[in-house]
């Protein structure tokens, strides 16, 4: 079997990551872990239960999705931007037989892989603390993490394509990611929101990721899994398609 054309791009990123794997993973993990333990125990001590389960159990799926989203977004914004714009890595690759689609597919696959890794790390914590209701069901969180990572990688690459500099990414975080984290059900159920806000939140990709992940931690099969999966997939594909067109206009004009 011959490897796909984008694979050398994935491998390039993997080899760089390997050199700094330990600090990079710790950095990726520290933030969601602190949230999980701090909020889970701190806030969890104040709350009797949320949706009928201890708060820490409720929060676990939210943190997994949050961590995956963050990891995928950081990789496709800051890291991809430095490869595209600062280090001219993409330009160097484009002088070889590889095309822009190969480069972006490699980046997409890489960001999804890193997101998967972040998700897997949170899953280990979930298992370690025994937060899952059903171990076998919780294994389905792995494909959910991958799909969520893919979705936000596609969107992130589209933002990267139009960014003039690093500062621009702050807008994406404050205008898209942070509201999504607050409204998408990471910290509290969307049912706590006023109806109109909940209706809006239902369109956010992160909401769909959490709709998939939370039941899997709490021990039952999600409602409408196919629908949520398709929405995540479509967001990712739409983002990637836009990224390809916009990056082509940026670099190959």
């Amino acid at each position: 079997m011959t490897e796909p054309r984008w694979f050398p791009v994935w491998r390039r990123n993997f080899l760089v990551w390997k050199k700094l794997a330990i600090p990079s993973m710790l950095g990726n993990l520290a933030d969601p872990l602190l949230y999980m333990l701090g909020l889970g125990y701190g806030l969890g001590g104040l709350l009797q239960s949320v949706d009928g389960v201890p708060y820490l159990h409720f929060l676990a799926a939210g943190m997994l999705c949050y961590s995956v989203t963050n990891s995928s977004t950081f990789e496709t914004l800051y890291s991809a931007f430095s490869r595209m714009h600062v280090q001219k890595t993409w330009e160097a690759i484009l002088n070889t037989p590889l095309g822009l689609r190969d480069v972006l597919l490699g980046e997409l696959a890489w960001a999804s892989s890193k997101a998967l890794l972040s998700g897997a790390a949170i899953l280990l914590v979930i298992w370690g603390l025994g937060l899952q209701a059903d171990f076998v069901l919780s294994l389905a969180l792995i494909p959910v993490a991958l799909l969520t990572g893919f979705c936000f990688a596609g969107l992130g690459l589209a933002v990267n394509a139009v960014s003039p500099n690093y500062d621009f990414f702050l807008y994406y975080f404050t205008l898209a990611i942070t509201p999504m984290v607050l409204l998408g059900g990471v910290f509290y159920p969307p049912s706590a929101l006023p109806a109109w806000l909940a209706a809006g939140a239902a369109w956010l990709p992160l909401t769909h990721a959490i709709e998939l992940a939370r039941p899997l931690v709490l021990g039952h099969w999600p409602d409408r899994p196919l629908w949520h999966g398709v929405v995540l997939l479509l967001y990712g594909v739409a983002g990637f398609t836009a990224a390809l067109g916009l990056t082509r206009r940026r670099l190959l004009r």
Binding site: V16, N95, T96, P97, L252, R253
Partner: protein, 306 residues
């Protein structure tokens, strides 16, 4: 006649309505070094990007190693090497890792690369630096590594976009040595440069480009013979303005640039005698044969571009 590695016919490319490449024709001969000279913004880099199939032309036809561009760019680039104008080495990798990773983009197997990399390191004079990080290399070493990287796929044709810009004279000589070795191996080179001495030394054929067009083409000697008087006397120092009126008597053509008067002539004897007679006035001169820079400046003018 053997197939031309690169043939470009009537190529045009506009940016924002402004023609950057404008009806360009170019035919490279196999095994030759072809120089593309031109002032800043003449369209050299754009021509190279078009010739690699990276960007689409507005009009024109390009065949690169027998492949029609841009449609068959991927197949063509498999056999081309590129030294880009701006540095794009991977700062996260060592010297060896840079070569290895780049080779993988061409689909080369690790075993194949393991055989090639020592030869590339030797070619670049970087044997002792295989495991050094990029940040520890001098400018000349980085450029040599970029050249070695361009050879990782054993290309037939190599594009070099200003390979020696920013290097000191020793480093430039090392790059020239490398390029001559490649020519001995039968590779074809397409080189852009702002250094006329570099073009004169290395290139078999030179195309001078201005505003997207090739204005003249020929070997360095042909160009000098065809476009410029063989002798140049550069005159400078006190009393230049007063002497300038006399100069016209002795020389075919005079041109003042800043503090220096360039006198072009077929017979320098008269002007030299006249100048020697004014030794004590503070007027000084330099007599030299005409070179490519004289041609370049005559054809593209002396005013600043950009």
């Amino acid at each position: 006649m053997p197939l031309s590695p690169l043939s470009i016919h009537d190529l045009s490319k506009r940016y924002g309505g402004i023609p950057v490449v404008d009806g360009l024709n170019l035919e490279l001969a196999p095994g030759c070094c072809h120089g593309l000279l031109g002032p800043n913004g003449a369209g050299k880099t754009t021509t190279l990007r078009l010739a690699l199939g990276l960007i689409a032309a507005d009009t024109g036809e390009i065949r690169l190693l027998g492949h029609a561009l841009p449609d068959q760019g991927r197949a063509a680039r498999q056999r081309v090497g590129v030294v880009p104008q701006s540095d794009s080495l991977d700062p996260d990798f060592t010297v060896r890792e840079n070569l290895f990773t780049y080779g993988r983009y061409f689909g080369l197997r690790p075993a194949e690369l393991a055989g090639r990399i020592p030869r590339l390191l030797a070619f670049a004079g970087l044997e002792g630096k295989a495991d050094a990080p990029i940040a520890s290399l001098s400018g000349g070493m980085k450029r040599r590594l970029t050249l070695a990287r361009a050879l990782v796929n054993d290309p037939e044709l190599i594009f070099l976009d200003e390979p020696t810009t920013g290097l000191d004279p020793q480093a430039r000589h090392l790059i020239w040595q490398g390029l001559r070795r490649l020519l001995h191996q039968g590779k074809t080179l397409l080189l852009t440069t702002h250094f006329m001495d570099e073009a004169e030394r290395l290139c078999d054929v030179i195309s001078v480009m201005d505003q997207g067009r090739i204005i003249v083409q020929g070997s360095p000697r042909e160009l000098i013979r065809a476009h410029i008087e063989p002798h140049v006397v550069e005159v400078f120092g006190e009393g230049l303005t007063a002497w300038r009126d006399r100069a016209a008597r002795f020389c075919q053509r005079c041109e003042r640039v800043g503090e220096t008067l360039f006198c072009y002539t077929h017979a320098p004897q008269a002007v030299l005698v006249d100048l020697d007679g004014r030794h004590e006035t503070g007027l000084r001169y330099l007599h030299r044969p005409a070179n490519l820079e004289d041609v370049f400046l005559k054809l593209t003018g002396r005013d600043l571009r950009d």
